[in-house]
Point group: D2
Chain length 149, copies 4
């Protein structure tokens, strides 16, 4: 691993929420579009997405499916790396670890990504998913991405 | 953690593929139904699902999205626990770790779950996802589930 | 998983640093004692340990071994759960995921644990390991513990 | 990530157990030497180490500490990559995820590593730790390594 710090390799203004929404629309699978994710904040170090509540994402019994939370965390990391680098970057997920801590029902989830290292070839992030209005996390994840360009 | 071994708590014939397909249909989110997962094999220790190729699951560029593979691994674990216990069990994912090793394009993926511990309150599994016809894994995952009944 | 919040089951004053140092001394393996961990802060939600620099923990080349950081994160979680519950609790690690982000050489490491959920049977934590004086993490971990008493 | 398969980049005979024992002795921290790990098998795809039982590694109560199992899994992966590449390779751990499934007491543990991908810059492995004579795993891990040479 390089000792590169969090300075973007190509100094660039971080891509804003609209630019990230466009990257999401253009690069992710149709099945991922169905999550209805929206970018709320975008910055060099921190990006926040909203996962709107939808019965389509709920299991029998009414709880938000863990699969939707994992998918949201992964998608949010990719967009956060784009925000940090100032535009679209080809990349691939290397590893994701997720813990599921509290059920969510009937509420949007905020997906808060912090890029903890942006190296030349690898990026690391931590993601906290919290139901809107709650103070404790529904789930937490760490991700590692390989940057291809 | 208990020292319970892999003997089902309630001795029961493992649920077969048709029973698991019904559990999948009745208990998982509509968004998960869109993956089109089908149960190929079901046993006390090992369950195999097929994730059919679909452009809906592919990113720009044509590769199967990692999110779909994570969701398939989680869903397959839940069904494998039902197979091991001989029917539906209420449960919740505690932790999932996934590594992404090789791209998949244009091919179905086989999702092979091995239950490595079936305790009274926790179940552990390892999952290997392999593109049909390939010999090396596309992704691997480990999962921990809390059993609620 | 229960919906229990972070209120200790048995309301109790969080065990302080000296009490945790004693728990560390009395309950962990001799090989773990060699890490020389010391409790710096102890609270209901957050506990901080210091891993003092030692050549014994360094690989050829002079970098702190990742194994020592994983062991410190696990040990720190156990002590943080004791702090949150107000005394020693029998428990066992269920899962630990660690990412390694920056090398450490010649400096102590601060191991900062935040308990994100303290349920009746499961506890979840996130751990950030940072070289003293650094602003970015050397490593991050998430842990899941089963509480046995 | 590259699409490189498991063929070593520099075709080379896999390093044997004695060569790996020497790499272990020369490159790992003194604290890791105290684990007493020994290489039992070494091959291009699979390497097995023995973690001898020692009271030094046991917690109060007599169980093998999870920290020792995590450290053994990490060390075994590094040696397995060396075996696959035919000699010492500078590398660094990127990520390790470990699940703890069964206690171990009074017995050696076999640490069985399978390299599932050996790319140009990243290697992936799965590790199963089993108490000698047992049929079910004590712990399982997945690891990602960055190869630096």
């Amino acid at each position: 691993m390089t000792s590169a710090d969090l300075t973007p390799q190509t100094p660039a203004p971080a891509a804003g929420p609209e630019a990230l929404d466009a990257i999401l629309r253009d690069n992710f699978a149709p099945w991922i579009q169905r999550l209805g994710l929206r970018v709320e904040e975008a910055g060099e170090r921190r990006t926040v997405l909203r996962l709107p509540w939808s019965d389509e994402l709920a299991r029998e019994g009414g709880g938000l499916s863990g699969q939707a939370m994992m998918a949201a965390a992964d998608t949010a990391t990719a967009l956060a790396v784009c925000a940090a680098r100032g535009g679209f970057v080809p990349m691939t997920t290397v590893q994701q670890s997720t813990t599921f801590q509290r059920p969510v029902s009937g509420r949007d989830v905020l997906v808060d990504v912090r890029i903890t290292k942006l190296g030349r070839t690898l990026a690391f992030a931590e993601i906290t998913l919290t139901a809107e209005g709650a103070t404790e996390p529904a789930a937490q994840a760490t991700t590692v991405y390989a940057l291809l360009g």
